[in-house]
């Protein structure tokens, strides 16, 4: 069954790396998001320079998929602007829709491919991206 596909070593390792976990001292923007399904909660804090992320931290109380997605962001997001973050979220959504580009921009995203078969879990992976977008939005408005 597909549940086994879901929990490959790479996704466990990614989640357990908890890259980027923590708090920033004085973020330019922060946001928090809940999963209405399971009560999971993700908080993202960013510092921006000219619209680009220069520092990021997150607190993620969630399932492995959610934590893995947050860790991928923690590992790779520095340097990105809002448009790139939106594009990356789009890549994940396409992956789930079965319309993914050959190679994802971040190698880590590939490990979410098996989630495609589990619609109820898509939100787990997308939540950190949505919260990040909201945090950047807040920073850009501030």
């Amino acid at each position: 069954m597909s549940a086994d596909d879901l929990y490959q070593q790479d996704i466990l390792d990614l989640a357990n790396s908890a890259d980027g976990a923590g708090r920033l001292g004085a973020p330019d923007g922060a946001a928090q998001g809940d999963s209405p399904l399971c009560g999971d909660r993700v908080r993202m804090e960013v510092r921006l320079d000219g619209g680009h992320i220069v520092a990021l931290a997150h607190e993620t109380k969630g399932c492995l998929l959610c934590r893995a997605a947050a860790a991928a962001i923690g590992r790779r997001a520095v340097g990105l602007d809002a448009a790139r973050v939106a594009a990356l979220r789009g890549e994940v959504a396409e992956l789930f829709a079965g319309q993914a580009a050959a190679v994802p921009s971040w190698p880590e995203l590939q490990c979410f491919e098996p989630v495609r078969a589990h619609r109820s879990r898509h939100g787990c992976v997308l939540l950190p991206f949505d919260v990040l977008a909201a945090a950047m939005d807040n920073a850009n408005r501030a």
Partner: protein, 404 residues
């Protein structure tokens, strides 16, 4: 011709099992089509689980079926997307939802414009809103033939108007509302438009985009689908602006003893476990209906309605309610008989195997306009045929002989 009433009738198990029944009470409830029955049964046997909460396969299948039903409804209505489709318990529940959620934003001095042709379900909720919030109700008058009199629209749809709520077609006269001028008048003052489509969807696809309205309500059971389900369609931005109505599971973001946040539409408006299997049945019915040869079917029901109206016209003491021109109306035919009470007529007709309804049809303000307490109504859909009309006319003659 690709359409045959006899063949169509074959898709309705109750009618197939009751060949002698002349079912002419379709405006009250349509018979269940086999597409809907099969969809409900196979859903219950294959995919029954609660929706939008579970992660196991059965739950994901239930989710997929339920969300697919939203897509099917959206396709039937030509809506922008499935997220504009809110499942409710029926038209009445849908209109009450709006009367509360939209009504929350209204205050004394604001106006809601209705017509005197409304079904109680698009009348009483607004009276109750008037009680709650002190808004004023304005009632569009009717022409002698029961159609809305739109000649003085500017007097009724004023700057204070926040919502125009009218029926797409009368459940008594069959008169189809000319929505374009109403929508234009509402737009001109920034008001929203709700259309009660309870009598419209079963007579062919509806295009909410072309109509240009904001909200559209209808019931499954009148559209050959299960009881217990209905729809409130709302334009995305119109739904997004509304607070929730009912509270409970599924419509929340987060709940604490202090405050609670709301889910986005459509779930914001679907508190609790929705009518899952019934929504699946409704989606299947609409998909099936969408594929039917409507041009032929309209020709068929118009021919029958004409035959019925011609047959009625020669009966002594018969008064016909509603416009005569079949292009302005649906095949819903109501009339009174001098000296014969509708219930007595219906009772005699029942003895002829003819199922029609007598009474006020939940439209007492309309009845008051016509100056009658009740009427007999025969409402036709494509499975009806010449034999149904013939039996009705013969039965009426018998009633006149017995009771006249």
């Amino acid at each position: 011709m690709s359409f045959s009433a006899a063949q169509w009738r074959g898709h309705f198990p109750l009618l197939a099992a009751h060949p002698k029944l002349h079912y002419l009470d379709n405006a009250a409830t349509g018979q269940l089509c086999e597409a809907a029955l099969d969809a409900v049964t196979s859903h219950e046997l294959q995919h029954r689980a609660n929706v939008l909460r579970g992660t196991y396969r059965l739950a994901e299948q239930a989710d997929a079926a339920y969300e697919n039903a939203r897509r099917q409804v959206a396709a039937y209505l030509n809506a922008a997307g499935p997220e504009e489709v809110v499942f409710t318990a029926g038209t009445t529940a849908a209109i009450n939802l709006l009367a509360h959620a939209f009504g929350e934003g209204l205050d004394a001095g604001d106006e809601v414009v209705l017509s005197l042709a409304e079904h109680h379900s698009n009348f009483v909720p607004w009276q109750m809103l008037r009680e709650r919030r002190g808004v004023a109700l304005r009632f569009l008058p009717l022409a002698a033939d029961g159609r809305l009199d739109l000649s003085r629209l500017d007097e009724f749809v004023s700057q204070r108007c926040k919502l125009v709520a009218v029926t797409h077609a009368s459940n008594v006269t069959g008169a189809v509302t000319d929505l374009a001028p109403l929508v234009a008048a509402a737009r001109a003052v920034g008001a929203r438009v709700l259309v009660d489509g309870a009598q419209a969807v079963q007579h062919g696809q509806v295009d909410v985009a072309a109509l240009g309205v904001d909200f559209y309500a209808f019931s499954g059971h009148k559209a050959f689908a299960p009881t217990g389900v209905g729809v409130l369609w709302g334009r995305s931005e119109a739904l997004a602006a509304l607070p929730p109505f009912l509270g409970g599971g599924g419509m929340i973001g987060r709940v604490t003893a202090g405050e609670t946040t709301w889910a986005p539409p459509p779930r914001r408006f679907e508190a609790g476990t929705p009518p899952i299997a019934q929504a699946v049945g409704l989606g299947a019915a609409l998909d099936w209906l969408r594929a039917q040869p409507w041009a032929d079917m309209h020709a068929h029901t118009a021919r029958l309605a004409q035959r019925l109206m011609d047959g009625l016209a020669v009966l002594p003491g018969l008064t016909f309610l509603g416009p005569r021109d079949l292009r302005q109306r649906l095949p819903i035919v109501s009339f009174t008989l001098a000296g014969i009470h509708p219930h007595d007529a219906c009772q005699i007709l029942d003895g002829h195997g003819v199922a029609v309804r007598g009474g006020h049809h939940c439209a007492q303000p309309l009845m008051d306009c016509f100056g009658v307490a009740g009427a007999v109504r025969a409402s036709l859909v494509p499975y009806n045929d010449e034999a149904d009309v013939g039996a009705l006319l013969a039965g009426l003659k018998d009633a006149m002989r017995k009771l006249g």
